[in-house]
């Protein structure tokens, strides 16, 4: 993949996105030089610990970071059109219309005082000139499509009358209501129990196939990535650590941080059931090292890690680590990496 020219079929194309906040303690670079593309009908996973800047990156490009002290630079093209710096009204018609969003906690994502139907209709009518009646019919169809039983009566129910999983289905129905080209899902399954998680991921997979939307799914869970993503961006401390096709990243991860993340997946198929965690805490955004951000926690740290590693690699699998291919081979053949099974 060429780093400069976005592929012509890319729905979303991000180049060198940086987001920083001016705080009393100094400037916080929440996102630092992030670039990736999302192709048509592609599912891109962005993975990292909390605080890695993955959500901020997506929110900021859609104008959802409403902080007077934020500054955003770089380029974000949606269907070839630059969207950074769009006016509020232009952004509004894009949000909910061409880009749908799903959030982490379905329990709080819906306004408690309106029926779910009202809330879907509100979005439909904000982006089209549907009549109220037609919009309600469409809302009922959408609820049926996301697998809510008895949608005709449920459309008039309030959010608190639904379970967590059902509410997330409502949120998905809402996000898809205007047939968006791109769906951004921020930890859509984190707040749900394991069975419901699987159902929701399954639903998203099916809907993606029928609606043909591209999806960016933000998660800290490599399991979710393995389940649904085609390609993966691994982020650490606001910077991309590794980018590549899902199979390559999961099967032959190249960055020590990715190894850690893979080890941190609680896996049902491993008998030991031991929860491996990455030693140390995520780096404070105020004290990101000038060199490799992961170096302080990395067990393979070298002298050169005091300099910032470039994002490089073969074909479409890139990583930002100073380890040579030979060193990685040695490390991966020893038993320390648990990502491989």
């Amino acid at each position: 993949m060429s780093r400069e020219d976005p592929p012509t079929n890319a729905v979303l194309s991000v180049r060198d996105l940086s987001v920083s906040f001016a705080t009393r303690q100094g400037v916080v670079r929440a996102v630092d030089g992030l670039s990736f593309d999302v192709g048509a009908k592609e599912v891109l996973g962005i993975v990292g610990e909390s605080g890695s800047g993955k959500s901020v990156a997506m929110y900021s490009m859609l104008g959802l970071v409403r902080d007077a002290n934020v500054s955003i630079s770089g380029s974000v093209r949606f269907e070839g059109r630059e969207i950074l710096g769009l006016s509020d009204t232009e952004m509004q018609s894009m949000r909910g219309g061409e880009v749908g969003m799903i959030f982490q906690d379905p329990m709080t994502a819906l306004t408690p005082v309106y029926t779910v139907g009202w809330q879907i209709v509100e979005q439909l009518r904000a982006h089209s000139d549907m009549t109220k009646k037609a919009a309600y019919e469409r809302a009922t169809e959408l609820l049926a499509e996301v697998g809510i039983p008895d949608p005709k009566s449920r459309v008039n129910h309030y959010p608190h009358e639904f379970s967590g999983g059902m509410r997330q289905r409502v949120v998905i129905a809402m996000a898809l209501s205007c047939n968006p080209k791109l769906l951004i899902a921020d930890e859509p399954t984190t707040a749900l129990d394991v069975t419901t998680q699987a159902q929701i991921l399954d639903l998203m997979g099916r809907l993606q196939a029928t609606h043909g939307s591209s999806i960016v799914i933000i998660t800290h869970d490599m399991g979710v990535i393995a389940e649904i993503a085609h390609r993966v961006v691994v982020m650490y401390a606001g910077r991309p650590a590794e980018i590549g096709p899902e199979l390559d990243v999961v099967r032959s991860a190249r960055h020590p941080y990715t190894w850690g993340l893979l080890g941190a997946v609680p896996r049902a198929d491993i008998k030991t059931r031991r929860l491996v965690t990455i030693p140390g805490n995520a780096v404070s955004p105020l004290e990101v090292p000038t060199g490799c951000a992961f170096a302080p926690r990395c067990q393979y740290r070298m002298e050169i890690c005091a300099q910032r590693p470039p994002l490089r690699g073969a074909d479409d699998h890139l990583d930002a680590c100073w380890l040579s291919d030979e060193q990685r081979l040695v490390i991966r053949s020893s038993a320390t990496v648990r990502g491989e099974s």
Binding site: R95, F103, D105, A109, T111, E122, Y158, E161
Partner: protein, 323 residues
């Protein structure tokens, strides 16, 4: 919803019963106080005392005494004053009620309007010049005695300036709504403003806090992600949810308003409503009058807060199911 209303009003009846028992105990069973001589007044003759004892069954068991009190208050409504001998109390209260209701109604309209718009403006301009102003007004509102504010308003509007810039203000008194709506509003304007200004400050401050909290809620982010305009997000989502706590606060304040602030406002402005009647009762130690005003006032408050609760359930669907 209907079940909720029935439930809420039956609990209101229960509350009214306990309040009446409490009033009864205070007026008729306070240790060390002879109720007959309290009711009959300071220099009552033995004959009057005997009459009072018979009327309220003062030598009969407590439940019968309670029943007699309620009978005179609500069923036969023949409670009489022993200070202004022969004056029937209940007709006085019903005659005074429209004045009190007018005062409260107008004040509530102004206070909710000013309070809500003040809160919205402060929240919208968080951190700007107007915001601390509203905040300070909120502090002032819970620190100013309402009757004193009323006196200051009187001093300004009826004092030296009455002959010049405030010449359009009537010299006090009351004109009923049916008689002349314009004069009704004009006579009540400053009492309304006095009463409303304090509550408006409190409500603006509370609403500001609620709005700012609600604007950080997840559902506001969802609303933005839906592509709604900021205006719609503020009014249809954040404000709509913030109104829930405003209404619940309102339910509590109705009681404080009717029993306290409205009473004092009537006294200061010389509006002859139920509060003014209570004041007269207190000045003359006219116990039957005070008892009547307290009981009718308290019952009104209980019913009014039941109505507010129904309104509350109407705007917060979560309550309907729980109840």
């Amino acid at each position: 919803m209907l079940r909720f209303i029935v439930k809420r009003f039956s609990s209101a009846v229960l509350v009214m019963f306990t309040i009446s028992v409490l009033v009864f105990l205070i007026f008729f069973a306070t240790p060390g106080v002879n109720p007959a001589s309290r009711i009959a007044g300071r220099s009552a003759s033995p004959a009057v005392l005997r009459h009072v004892a018979k009327e309220f069954g003062l030598n009969r068991p407590l439940p019968i005494r309670y029943g007699l009190m309620m009978f005179h208050l609500f069923i036969k409504q023949d409670l009489t004053s022993y200070v202004n001998i022969g004056d029937k109390i209940i007709p006085q209260i019903t005659a005074a009620a429209p004045i009190t209701l007018s005062l409260i109604f107008g004040a509530v309209v102004i206070w909710l309007f000013v309070g809500i718009s003040g809160g919205v403006i402060a929240a919208k301009n968080k951190g700007k010049f107007i915001d601390p102003l509203v905040m300070f007004f909120g502090i002032a509102a819970i620190s100013i005695p309402v009757y004193w504010l009323g006196q200051m308003v009187l001093l300004v509007t009826q004092g030296g300036l009455h002959s010049s810039i405030f010449a359009w203000i009537p010299n006090g008194g009351y004109v009923s709504l049916t008689q002349n709506p314009w004069q009704w509003a004009l006579h009540l304007l400053f009492p309304w403003l006095t009463l409303a200004s304090l509550y408006a400050g409190i409500y603006a401050r509370v609403l500001r806090g609620e709005l700012i909290n609600n604007m950080n809620e997840d559902y506001i982010r969802t609303a933005r992600a839906k592509g709604l305009s900021e205006r719609r997000i503020l009014y249809r989502h954040a404000l709509r949810c913030s109104l829930i706590s405003i209404v619940s606060l309102f339910g509590l304040d109705v009681g404080v308003l009717v029993g306290g602030a409205a009473l004092l406002t009537e006294v200061v402005f010389g509006l002859q409503g139920v509060g003014w009647l209570t004041y007269q009762g207190l000045q003359n130690l006219d116990l039957p009058l005070i008892m009547g005003c307290v009981m009718y006032g308290a019952f009104f408050v209980v019913l009014a807060s039941a109505v507010v609760d129904v309104l509350y359930a109407y705007i917060d669907p979560r309550i309907r199911v729980v109840a």
